[in-house]
């Protein structure tokens, strides 16, 4: 397999799967579902090969592919993977098969369109994480919106149209500004004829300061909306709540990481000086988000809204780690992106399991579920503990490194953010008690039955990852260490 364009195969395998699914007779729903699952599993297989062959200890971009695309405008088809994109690519390909599998019970109509949308979404996401040309990146970045718009708007809950509109308008207005900034970057990159959209080239010659700050702001706004950073987060609870279970899972687990990935891939290396200057601002917003998201979570009556608001809190930690601008903080931030994908994706699956049975998302409609579904209760406990960052689970390693890095940057950051450590226990245990404990009080009690075999299959890989990363985070941390170190050096060198 040496010499194969592994990254291109990786990016376009899901779309190829979508093409196959599209020609299957739409009445053969099972066949379509299996096709989608098989395509996403094959994609995961490719990532595992890359993960295994990935060279540890070098910050260089690996498995690079470059092809001329629009030479007149300096646009190239340029893919590559390094320690920063590798964990996110792995996360994407792990989550996708699970999301597809969860759709088998939560999505009953237009199965073909749904499967195709999900696979197209996967290609767009992988392309976003692997592009090293700014135009190519932008194309994939915006391409993500389209399938996601349909997933929310067609298969969502009662207020799906409002939510889908809000989602696409909010995020698209952010990307519009980013596009302007990309073009300015291009125009600044050299004399006519030698201009480029290439990330590697742009990274070597950052633009001068006043302009750098403006470009930073444009990129930062687009990413901050995606994360979402407080107070730009209000599209998120609506989108999460209205999306069908697999949509919420992918949205939380992967789509939000596009923003935080953008911090690491573009903001810090392309605008190092502005990053340093504006770090306190972003950290402040992040910390407000940590506490605010947690407090608002606690007051929710709708489980999906609760989990959605908890994402604001968790992504606050990720942002805090990123703009602590220390190796520990950034390593924690990157790891926590993966961890949040696993734990919050898992939480949405947990809510999905309940919703499939009772068709309610309201805490008031539940009680004593643990007595009816003991195995499910155990699974939900583990997912909850991961989200709470209990030591032994994946969440702890990330949160600990973030707090360590933040403390090194400025103790006050860590001291205030530690409040989030307490609050996450408050709202998660609150939800857990309301749903699982107390006397049995559920609608349609007869339908609240123990996890099926298929549902158990959904959770087993997540639980394995929770403990694997919790106990042996070295496999991920060692692969990203060199890239993160180089990134921090780059930011520190720009003075």
């Amino acid at each position: 397999m040496r010499g194969w364009p592994l990254l291109s195969i990786l990016v376009f395998l899901p779309v190829a799967g979508a093409a196959v699914a599209a020609i299957v007779d739409r009445r053969r729903e099972q066949a379509i579902r299996w096709t989608g699952l098989a395509a996403s599993l094959l994609t995961l297989g490719v990532v595992l090969v890359i993960f295994e062959r990935f060279a540890v200890g070098t910050p260089a971009v690996q498995f690079e592919e470059r092809a001329v695309w629009i030479p007149a405008a300096g646009i190239a088809y340029h893919l590559g993977i390094d320690g920063i994109s590798l964990p996110l690519v792995l996360l994407t390909t792990v989550i996708m098969p699970l999301a597809l599998l969860s759709s088998w019970s939560s999505v009953g109509d237009r199965v073909k369109e749904f499967t195709v949308s999900m696979l197209v979404l996967e290609t767009a996401l992988l392309g976003t994480f692997l592009s090293l040309d700014l135009v190519l990146f932008y194309v994939f970045w915006d391409a993500v919106l389209i399938p996601m718009y349909f997933i929310i708007g067609l298969w969502g809950g009662p207020r799906r149209v409002y939510a889908a509109f809000k989602f696409i308008l909010y995020t698209a207005s952010g990307s519009a500004l980013m596009l302007v900034a990309i073009i300015v970057l291009y125009l600044q990159s050299g004399p006519a004829g030698a201009r480029t959209f290439d990330w590697l080239a742009l990274r070597e010659a950052p633009v001068a300061m006043p302009l750098q700050a403006w470009l930073f702001a444009a990129f930062a706004l687009a990413f901050a909306i995606k994360v979402p950073l407080w107070p730009l987060h209000t599209w998120l609870p609506d989108a999460h709540t209205e999306a069908p279970t697999p949509g919420s899972v992918v949205l939380a687990a992967v789509l939000l990481k596009m923003g935080t990935y953008g911090f690491l891939r573009f903001l810090l290396p392309l605008f190092p000086e502005a990053s340093r200057r504006f770090a306190p601002l972003l950290v402040t917003l992040a910390i407000i988000g940590i506490l605010y998201g947690a407090a608002v979570s606690w007051a929710q009556r709708d489980m999906k809204r609760l989990v959605a608001m908890s994402s604001v809190s968790h992504l606050g930690f990720v942002t805090l780690g990123a703009f602590a601008l220390t190796v520990e903080g950034l390593q924690g931030s990157l790891l926590q992106m993966v961890n949040h994908g696993i734990s919050t994706g898992g939480l949405f699956l947990v809510v999905g399991v309940l919703y499939d049975r009772t068709h309610s998302r309201l805490l008031d409609d539940y009680g004593g579920v643990a007595a009816l579904m003991p195995r499910f209760a155990a699974v939900a406990t583990i997912v909850m503990l991961s989200s709470m960052a209990l030591p032994g689970t994946n969440g702890f390693v990330g949160e600990f490194l973030i707090l360590l890095g933040a403390f090194r940057a400025a103790p006050v950051y860590a001291v205030v953010a530690a409040g989030g450590v307490i609050l996450s226990a408050v709202y998660l245990l609150w939800m857990y008690q309301r749903v699982m404990h107390g006397p049995v009080a559920v609608k349609e009690r007869a339908r609240v039955v123990e996890l099926s075999r298929r549902e158990l299959v959904l959770f087993v890989p997540l639980i394995a990852l929770i403990f694997w990363i919790g106990l042996f985070p070295g496999a991920l941390l060692s692969r990203s260490e060199a890239s993160i170190r180089a990134l921090v050096e780059r930011v520190e060198a720009a003075r």
Binding site: V296, F396, L401, L403, F407, A418, I422, W430
Partner: protein, 620 residues
């Protein structure tokens, strides 16, 4: 290997019972649960005799976290200090597992119970055996998790579920402080390994050491239920009684004391922290004892008693009388576990009744239980020759010696006062439970209370022996084996070992006996004495309880709702939708221009041309 085995055995028990326990017979579940801890105890006994223990026997497991300049390995460390704890945890733990096999016999969640209990033992062993502060913290949080799971074991009861949640959240408050202290230590010392701490501690600035130790101690106030984070422990009594004995008396709650002992090189360099620890300990000891005086729930009496006794231990740690503190930790593990198991036996016999007003007259039917309770009570009250006498006496002696001539002598006074109150409340509890009901009340227990099965009696017997004779571990008669070993471990500046004055030695037991006499006079014939306004004051937990419930819990609840309902929906989302609506309105108003008539557009073009031309011609 032996070290890993100690930890691996209960872990295996957890996995077995947790994954397939539902398909096993009760006998098998109980055998796995108790057997794994029993074997761990045997392994611990073997390991503790290895010569390597004297200098610290280390086993490195694997590299855990490495990022930037921070890296930490997972490993185990058995030295003189952790050996004491491992033996207590596995030894007392084994007895309580055996007891549980009888106590929980009828419970439908039998295998889940043993799975949790085994996980607890494994977590507690990680806490005491971890060779880095981070590993200790992992165990520290995991025992908290097990405590949550076991307090809320009967989760269909709302009260139990809420109590478990409260325990977790209150502990998390302390844990957040602990986490910050640990991070500061990691940044300052460059390592979280415990073995070289004595060396690295000297390199940190004294002010920083004070901050680190205060943060770590804040964590200890959560885990060990000291002021101000004690509130979860009384509620934790909602859990099964053997759990209260194991976790909330003998082992987990002592983790804070152990942590200070473990980090003594740090605490020895932070004088301000020492004062804080001693004062908090002494105050908590007295505070909790007064509350224990007015509780009607037997288990709550014991819970406040535990908080109070932990206060003694912190008093000792704060004065750097660390061997004495660890000695009291040991004897307390024996007699408090015994008291709880006896209380469990009472509940078992009375069909769950635990209200002192509804007990009484159990001396006959529960003869063995009563003797167990009385031995535990005498040990708690500090009556010689029972175990508690030796350790409590030692703490108060050393407190007097070390604070003599300073304002800190007050903590000694508080300790002595607490000894008196302790004797009073435990006498009251004993009378209320076992004395025959007064004739005029005509109140007799319903049903036919029966003595516990032998599976429950044997562990109580063993603990009774330990509570009666455990003082030998620190008494001159037997050569003070425990104290001798610990004194070699703690490398603190040597206090001249002068024999304490005779009056000082006699003071503690005298106060204890006085308390018992006072308790007898007050409560004889099961009289219900209310203590007037003072009683109300104690009952409301010195008015800390309403402060917590209304101001802190209610206040934060209100803030959460305000943010969610007003700030989130009206302000932030209102602004977003407002912008959207404004754009929409602007679009609608401009739409009027788009009429679709060519003549209108032609007119507009003409007007524009005229304006432009006018500009060019006239103004340029």
């Amino acid at each position: 290997m032996l070290l890993i085995l100690i930890l691996a055995l209960p872990l295996a028990g957890w996995l077995l019972n947790g994954l397939i326990g539902g398909r096993l017979t009760r006998r098998a579940v109980g055998l796995i649960g108790a057997g794994s801890v029993g074997l761990a105890f045997a392994a611990a006994l073997l390991a503790a005799q290895q010569p390597a223990v004297a200098d610290g026997w280390r086993v490195v497991l694997w590299d855990w976290i490495a990022a930037g300049s921070f890296s930490v390995r997972l490993g185990l460390l058995l030295d003189r200090l952790s050996a004491v704890m491992v033996l207590i945890v596995t030894g007392v733990g084994f007895l309580i597992h055996v007891y549980s096999a009888g106590y929980m016999r009828e419970d439908p969640g039998y295998s889940r119970y043993f799975a949790y209990l085994n996980l607890f033992i494994a977590s507690m062993l990680l806490l005491v055996l971890g060779d880095t502060l981070l590993a200790l913290f992992v165990g520290w949080e995991l025992v908290g998790l097990c405590s949550y799971l076991l307090i809320g074991f009967w989760f269909d009861r709302e009260r139990a579920a809420s109590a478990g949640r409260k325990a977790f959240v209150v502990n998390r408050i302390g844990d957040a402080a602990f986490l910050l202290g640990m991070i500061l230590l990691a940044l300052e010392a460059g390592t979280l390994e415990l073995a070289p701490l004595a060396r690295t501690a000297a390199t940190i600035a004294p002010a920083t050491v004070t901050v680190i130790t205060l943060l770590l101690f804040a964590g200890a106030t959560g885990k060990s239920a000291q002021l101000p984070l004690y509130t979860w422990l009384p509620d934790a009594m909602e859990g099964p009684t053997p759990v209260s004995a194991l976790i909330h008396a003998a082992t987990m709650v002592t983790a804070g004391v152990y942590m200070i002992a473990r980090l003594h090189p740090l605490f020895a360099r932070a004088e301000m922290t020492q004062t804080v620890v001693a004062v908090v300990g002494a105050t908590t000891a007295f505070f909790a004892a007064t509350i224990a005086l007015v509780q009607w729930d037997l288990k709550r009496v014991l819970a406040y008693s535990t908080i109070s006794q932990l206060g003694y231990m912190f008093l000792a740690m704060g004065l750097l009388a660390m061997p004495a503190g660890m000695f009291h930790l040991t004897t307390h593990a024996f007699f408090k576990a015994l008291l709880f198991l006896a209380a469990g036996s009472v509940m078992h016999a009375m069909g769950g009744v635990i209200d002192l007003r509804r007990l009484g007259g159990l001396a006959g039917p529960l003869r063995w239980t009563m003797w167990g309770f009385l031995i535990g009570a005498l040990a708690l009250a500090g009556v010689p020759p029972f175990a508690g006498f030796f350790s409590k006496d030692l703490i108060l002696e050393q407190a007097f010696e070390r604070t003599q001539g300073s304002a800190l002598l007050l903590v000694w006074g508080l300790g002595l006062l607490t000894a008196f109150v302790t004797a009073v409340y435990i006498t009251r509890a004993a009378i209320m439970t076992f004395a025959p009901p007064a004739a005029h009340t005509g109140h007799a227990q319903r049903g036919h209370p029966h003595e516990a099965p032998s599976l429950m009696l044997w562990p109580m017997g063993a603990l009774a022996v330990l509570s009666a004779a455990g003082g030998l571990l620190g008494s001159q008669v037997a050569g003070r084996p425990l104290l001798h070993s610990l004194e070699q471990f703690f490398t603190l500046e040597a206090h001249a070992a002068v024999a304490p004055a005779t009056w000082l030695v006699l003071l503690t037991p005298a106060v204890g006996l006085l308390g018992i006499a006072a308790g007898y006079l007050l409560y004889r014939g099961r009289r219900q004495v209310a203590l007037g306004w003072l009683g109300t004051f104690f009952e409301r937990q010195w008015y800390l309880e309403p402060l917590y419930d209304r101001v802190i819990v209610g206040g934060s609840r209100w803030v959460g709702r305000m943010l969610a309902d007003v700030v989130e929906l009206r302000v932030i989302d209102g602004a977003v939708n407002g912008i959207g609506a404004a754009v929409g309105r602007a679009g609608r108003s401009v739409r009027a221009v788009q009429t679709g008539y060519v003549r209108n557009y032609a007119a507009a073009i003409l007007a524009g041309t005229v304006l432009l031309l006018g500009y060019w011609l006239l103004l340029r």
